[in-house]
């Protein structure tokens, strides 16, 4: 097991980059989600054009450990199409908001992909044999003239070039009035939840015409709306427990054994705000854009606009750890509000042993926050650092005053280059970082 540190002990090297080099980015190519499967062998991406691309890790050559395993295209398919709901006069984007893999049960792989309104279960299966020697058909499929058939033979399976097929097995539609932001597979491997701005539903993977509503925060009078659901996730081991985060910076933990409708939380996680810090921006920057349980199920991590917080599930009144992602943006909030960047939804992820967390920032920077060593580093996903096995150099942002050599000033940051989606291999120090339209894969430097 190679998962160890990941912060400053580990040196990160460039491994691969996927996607077009040109700066003219088509909307459809904007990456909207990245997710490793449970073994880390497969890496899925979803984009604004409704497409899913799955990469597979090559089997490592154990006798040559310096030969790093690469991820190559395994399957690609159109998951969702743009739709128009004529009844509600609502345009439905095909953008894939989230992909979540099911744990593997047999030879095939399954994943859930969702856009704003519809969740789909996709089966990805391999075909490496095909039947040959039919009696009634030629090899190319044409039917033989029955009069010419004089003998019988038994068709046999012969090897063929590997073909990977993706087929939609279930379509979970019409469950959501508002826009789906999260899906999460339950540890029972039978159910999953989907959350939109105001409601959370629980589905059975086999049943598409029904779902249970487990959270509903829609006020009787919409004028009274003050908060929306921003993310939700099932606990990794306790199938009765899930959490959901809000635009007001709170996280609610719910226990489905308590009642059918979990409007009343079991635990409410909220850090009290210092009233003297209150400003117009307070609520907006406290909005939680992502919530993720640790692998061991004892902690959860939340991402708000400027920070990452680690919460102990046994302590509701404050996080146990807080890490600043890009504190220097405090002096830019006015312009970040005007250009809408303040509403950007950054995700976050844990490494395999929960010792390091990672999240993205602007200028194609991303941050590794080492919990065990209490150290952090800023790295950059850039075409400038794309030589094979090139070690990534730490980056530093100068908040004000004199800019040192190798530092970049806040005013020079490119706010159009956002890293919103990152993923960490469940066991190894391999990370996938999505820039606007490129996918970078970095690996731990092997000496």
């Amino acid at each position: 097991l190679t998962a160890g540190g990941g912060g400053n002990d580990v040196q990160w090297c460039f491994s691969q980059v996927k996607g077009a080099i040109d700066d003219d980015v088509a909307e459809a190519d904007i990456i909207s989600t990245v997710e490793f499967n449970h073994s880390g062998e497969l890496l899925a991406t979803g984009d604004k054009g409704g497409r899913v691309v799955i990469f597979q890790q090559e089997t490592e050559n154990k006798s040559q450990p310096q030969c790093r395993s690469e991820y190559n295209v395994y399957s690609t398919f159109q998951s969702h199409e743009p739709e128009f709901d004529y009844l509600k006069s609502l345009e439905i984007e095909e953008k894939i908001n989230k992909i979540r893999w099911l744990p593997q049960k047999n030879a095939a792989q399954f994943l859930l992909s969702t856009n704003d309104k519809t969740i789909k279960l996709w089966k990805i299966s391999e075909r490496d044999k095909r039947p040959e020697g039919y009696n009634l058909k030629e090899e190319d499929g044409r039917y033989r003239d029955a009069a010419t058939i004089t003998t019988l033979r038994v068709p046999v399976f012969r090897p063929m070039d590997l073909m990977v097929e993706a087929s939609p097995r279930r379509v979970f539609a019409n469950g959501h009035t508002y826009h789906i932001n999260s899906i999460s597979v339950n540890s029972d491997n039978e159910t999953y939840l989907s959350a939109d701005d105001l409601r959370i539903n629980m589905w059975h993977l086999e049943i598409t015409d029904r779902s249970f509503n487990i959270v509903d925060i829609k006020p009787a009078n919409m004028e009274e709306l003050t908060e929306v659901i921003t993310a939700a996730e099932f606990h990794p081991h306790q199938c009765n427990t899930f959490v959901y985060s809000s635009s007001k910076g709170t996280i609610r933990l719910c226990d489905m054994r308590a009642s059918a409708l979990c409007d009343k939380h079991s635990k409410l996680f909220e850090e009290p705000e210092d009233p003297s810090n209150r400003s117009f921006f307070s609520e907006i920057i406290s909005s939680i854009s992502d919530v993720k349980f640790s692998h061991n199920g004892r902690y959860m991590m939340t991402r708000d606009y400027l920070s990452v917080k680690i919460w102990d599930l046994n302590m509701e009144n404050r996080p146990v750890e807080t890490y600043q992602v890009h504190e220097y943006l405090r002096s830019k909030l006015c312009s970040l509000y005007e250009n809408d960047c303040i509403f950007d939804k950054f995700e976050c992820c844990w490494n395999g042993n929960d010792s390091v967390v990672m999240t993205g920032s602007y200028n194609n920077f991303f941050r590794m926050l080492d919990r065990s060593q209490q150290r952090d580093v800023t790295l950059e996903a850039s075409r400038e650092s794309c030589k094979p096995r090139q070690v990534l150099k730490p980056r530093r942002v100068c908040a004000g005053g004199k800019r040192k050599k190798d530092e970049i000033s806040v005013d020079s940051l490119d706010f159009n280059k956002k890293i919103l989606h990152t993923a960490w291999h469940p066991q190894e120090n391999i990370i996938a970082v999505a820039t606007t339209n490129n996918l970078y894969i970095f690996q731990e430097k092997v000496n």
């Binding site: 996927k18 295209v73 690609t76 345009e91 826009h179 701005d197 709306l225 002096s331 830019k332």
Partner: protein
């Protein structure tokens, strides 16, 4: 209480603001807030974040009234209908009447992702 300072934009406050932006040790968020209020005085007058939240919930909503459309076409005769321009392109209310020219072209879904290329 600092909230009093937020409601009124006095000359002395503007002086303070200039001093604040030069003094890097002061609260940068307050400076940013003052900047925003100076640009958009009516911001934050309505209670709650409800404007922003409602806009989020209404994403994708399109409005079209065939009666309005035909009446406007009849009135205008040879003139063009007012077309959507700028950042308000997607907020369809008021004088703007959507026309076939405004509708985004249906995107082709047959192109393979460049990540797979």
């Amino acid at each position: 209480m600092s909230s009093d300072n937020q409601d009124t934009e006095t000359h002395s406050e503007q002086m303070d603001e200039t001093q604040e932006s030069q003094d890097t040790n002061s609260n940068p968020v307050r400076t940013e807030e003052a900047k925003l209020k100076a640009k958009y005085p009516s911001l934050g007058q309505k209670p709650g974040g409800s404007d922003f939240l409602m806009k989020r919930l209404q994403k994708g909503q399109k409005y079209f009234d065939s009666g309005d459309y035909n009446m406007a076409k009849a009135k205008m005769k040879n003139k063009q209908l007012p077309a959507a321009t700028g950042p308000d392109k997607n907020i369809v209310t008021g004088d703007h009447i959507p026309t076939p020219q405004d509708l985004p072209q249906r995107k082709s879904s047959l192109v393979t992702s460049k990540l797979a290329g």
